[in-house]
Subunit: 477 residues, 3 copies
Amino acid sequence: MIIPPAADRLFSSDKKQKEIANALYREVSGMPLICPHTHINPNLFVDPETTLGSPVDVFILPDHYIYRMLYSQGIPLETLGLHSNNSNEITVEQDHRKIWQCFADHFYLFRATPTGGWLTHELGEVFGVTCKLNSDNAQDIYDKVASQLALAEFQPRALYKHFNIEILCTTDAAEDSLEAHKTLRATEWDGKILPTFRPDGVTNLESEGWSKKISTLSQVSGVFIHDFKSFIRALENQREYFKQMGATATDHAVEQPTTVRLSPTEIEAIFKRALHNNLQSADAAVFTAHMLVEMARMSIEDGLVMQLHAGALRNYNPLIYQRFGSDCGADIPVRVDFTRNLQPLLSEYGNDPRLTLILFTVDDTTYSRELAPLAGHFPSVRLGPPWWFYDSPNGMKRFLDSVVETAGIYNTVGFNDDTRAFPSIPARHDTWRRVCCCWLADQVSRAVLEFEDAQDMAYDLSYRLPISAYKLKVNHG
Amino acid sequence: MIIPPAADRLFSSDKKQKEIANALYREVSGMPLICPHTHINPNLFVDPETTLGSPVDVFILPDHYIYRMLYSQGIPLETLGLHSNNSNEITVEQDHRKIWQCFADHFYLFRATPTGGWLTHELGEVFGVTCKLNSDNAQDIYDKVASQLALAEFQPRALYKHFNIEILCTTDAAEDSLEAHKTLRATEWDGKILPTFRPDGVTNLESEGWSKKISTLSQVSGVFIHDFKSFIRALENQREYFKQMGATATDHAVEQPTTVRLSPTEIEAIFKRALHNNLQSADAAVFTAHMLVEMARMSIEDGLVMQLHAGALRNYNPLIYQRFGSDCGADIPVRVDFTRNLQPLLSEYGNDPRLTLILFTVDDTTYSRELAPLAGHFPSVRLGPPWWFYDSPNGMKRFLDSVVETAGIYNTVGFNDDTRAFPSIPARHDTWRRVCCCWLADQVSRAVLEFEDAQDMAYDLSYRLPISAYKLKVNHG
Amino acid sequence: MIIPPAADRLFSSDKKQKEIANALYREVSGMPLICPHTHINPNLFVDPETTLGSPVDVFILPDHYIYRMLYSQGIPLETLGLHSNNSNEITVEQDHRKIWQCFADHFYLFRATPTGGWLTHELGEVFGVTCKLNSDNAQDIYDKVASQLALAEFQPRALYKHFNIEILCTTDAAEDSLEAHKTLRATEWDGKILPTFRPDGVTNLESEGWSKKISTLSQVSGVFIHDFKSFIRALENQREYFKQMGATATDHAVEQPTTVRLSPTEIEAIFKRALHNNLQSADAAVFTAHMLVEMARMSIEDGLVMQLHAGALRNYNPLIYQRFGSDCGADIPVRVDFTRNLQPLLSEYGNDPRLTLILFTVDDTTYSRELAPLAGHFPSVRLGPPWWFYDSPNGMKRFLDSVVETAGIYNTVGFNDDTRAFPSIPARHDTWRRVCCCWLADQVSRAVLEFEDAQDMAYDLSYRLPISAYKLKVNHG
């Protein structure tokens, strides 16, 4: 039995299709990486001497995709080195070698998962580890990876270049003063790290520490926030500041993408109640819904692209939330209704081509039913790539199969890696490019697409679409 | 690299599968076209000298599948020649050559879409244009298509024969006097154009101009409508008239397929409020739900097949609706609940084999969850083919994959082209036949189906099922 | 044209993939069958002389998968030999040869359905009937099957061995005294037939004959049920009794998986109202929701695995329910919300690795959106195999494609046949094993999985996972 070489990874085993896929892939595999939406910490790049730490610091601690899977099989998060709020009660493992061993012992859990694919790619392509991680070779591989992480060429700035990243956008709170970005712009390093304006902490009136965030926003924006109008002015000022620091987009995460236009009196009354710590039960939800409409209005005025991520019920597991906080793999998706919820916003601003509204979902039933028809009609609507649990070969295939027939590829925005795990970036982009080439090759092989068109489309999906959708400035392209 | 010939379009690149698909396709590709549900204007066929107009009249103006895609990329509908209500304000492009050029400049938007496939097929098979439309050849192709459209063999009656259409059903308002159909039946032309009874305009109490439609219905039916009973009598009379004119089916479009049986007193009270222009908030919804049950009752009595299209939120974009009216590509699907909503109707009439209720959806999550189990149990329920956004290769594959395992193919009704664009009919049927043959060939190649069974099924899906489900009379079959 | 041999059934027609699939399948096709969830009557095995009856008794009468399909095409259930409550009114067909003829006449309805595949496999592999059933050969095949059914080697105990079943779990009411299981444990026969604790009849306060079931539960448990506390004690006792009789699991079927923790006062008040036949409108729903939480608590204490089947609207067709009762193919699925509904239960017990909660759905939109993320995070959650309408090649492929990328295979539990039709068991397991091998082979052929990993996974999916998830004791494994 002949097992196919890794060079053909993800391509069809059909000879003709694979040949076409490879022909398409050869032209895009080396294109620079455009990363318009990540959760990478910009401080990684500020000090040229920063290192990434131990293999556990690189692979496990920042990546809830990995430790949630281990947790699902009964391994306590403390055993993986995660710090909880009640550290008196439970011992957190400090020995990274032991954590790595536990990870290796359970590496089989990631079989047939995208995380498994990324890990294999990362170990192989970034660290030269080509044998499969297991209980026996765990410590040797730890040594090999650890020794490389200590080298200059594995420092974040070097990896950024080595990964061939052209632009990387971070995600930053609205009230952030963007110190890291300021410093980066003042250095001579030519990596392009741009901020993204994420105001959820202040537009969600129930977010933890809301009042404190409002004071910080007052400070950084230079607008004393004492009513809704000054709140809006502060946000507008701060958006302007983000733009000056290179931002081209905002980002908003909600459970349901509810939108509504309240009267000035109504919205002012809610905001005042929030300032007086006197919220009524529906206030927060309605306020967020109104703020999405306001944000669309601001986007039309200042040109920032608006991203909307909908559908995750955050902090679903109270035990994990209380002990470990947010973003620990305990967010669970729910059904989303885009059609009805977005109608107020789209009725008001959806026909304005100055608005770019990029929609993301973790409810893939909305792909063909709602998202593609919306993107296939409104000049403002574009579809973000498959997000989170769907950032996977099957997730991508479902997305392309469900969306393109109605919206075409030109109402999509190519790829986002959306990662917290810096060294996984090349693996994620490579998966997308391979899946796209495979998907296009299938259509070429069935005489649905001409090869020349598929070549254009592979290039667009891999490189051109994120640049144009996010209004990014690049040297070539 | 060998690119497959168009003759194998849509078939698998696997050699064995493709061979089987071709063997199946050869037997059905030439079968006459049965078109039991279209939005073709019957007047096209009344005057033998009617011509289809310019290439823009043929390809763009009647087809919201096309102009919504162009609109989604920022091209105003006026630029495409669509007339709006405020023509003072905005200039509508009059020059069809300019519109065609704009279309050609943006033809790449349709890559990998079914519309793109139909256009290619239509240009190639109907008009002999085999090179791909682009900015450079736009005017030449315009000339070529325009000159053919002026010829006798491109008049609607000639194309009907050339397309090998055996039966074509139009969609006609309940209060329509069917003048075109009357004239057609009096001519010697032997094309079979049949009406379909669509009463939405009078069963939806909030439809624009409802009162006027009620008076027209009074006139054409010969029943003065002054209460609910006379309304029912008028509908029954008019259904009888449609039957005399050849109709075999009715059609109903609703957002949710809510059904309910009200008491005679309740329904009478609502209808009276409608007549007195004094509707209460829930009246219209409840009335429509009751009328679906009434229509099922009438279908059992007069034998007309009942079609139900559910799930589109109509006129979603108020700006487009106000300026351009309905059916402009601005209807967006929503989640549909068939199971709970249809229970009152099915409890009352679902076990009666005299009823044929054909269900259509734009929420494909209902295929395997609700529609297939309903069709796989109730003697009355049949499933319409993939509708609208799902009238596409992937949409068809999803439909067949999701529905047949539970309901079999014999609870489906073959294909509907459902088109407003007359010359796209052969392309649409050909896509369906190819996708079915490919889907069957896959199962034959995996030893799930015997080839002889697949031959039968290809014939059934292509030709026999729509005839039997819609109770059509044909010469062969 | 070369038609593939049945030995390659369900495998890809791609040569390389098929070779890999066969290599995987060869190693698992002969593994013993683990049947942790069935609706087989344990009495089949009590008397060694029991026979299965006529071909109609074997194939048609116990299997609503089959007669619902015939009913959907207008064949009355009475024609198929089913007894209704108003037998005066309608004649029930008594002649099994006539019933068999009707079945054979309509055998084409099952083309491309899993039921068709099982029937073909069953007729061929169990009864040696290799030609396709049709109108002409119906009586000959009846003779052949009937004569074999009279032989000793076609008695249930013999077939159990012949089928290579290692463990078979039945489904038994909470108030069942398990007489058949008691007798079986006392005999020398070494087949392993285990009960499963299914308390729906007593936890659903609106179930028919609830009071009677409560008295029976009092009797069998030895606890006089006069309040909620004694009800819980009775259930706990009876669970203990089921465990002594070999049970390792419970099973719960609900429309929505709503869970809630009521206060002791509230739950006591509801239960008292039930005892006094004085239920308020929301009582039953809330009570069931509370009982699911109680059952999770008991599972943690006594170690019984908890199965939850959600999403079927039972007895949807009132005519069928009134005449023929439950489980006649007239249950229709509805949308399910697992995420929100399970949160109370999972917040309380979901982090406890002593709980195993196996989730089943007939709403496949929850696979990737809700079920996989839940199973991929909570230590207690596992995913049951595709259920009911989804127990089919496409259903399995959708399940694996949608679930594994997020949850891995190790948060699934392999296969359940869930059948009422005893001789269909091998066919169902064979379908699962083939589909899994095909699915794995596809990934091996695309260099996503290593062949050695796929070998392990094929073995896990076919054999090891149900054993470990259901805490079964086997001789090998």
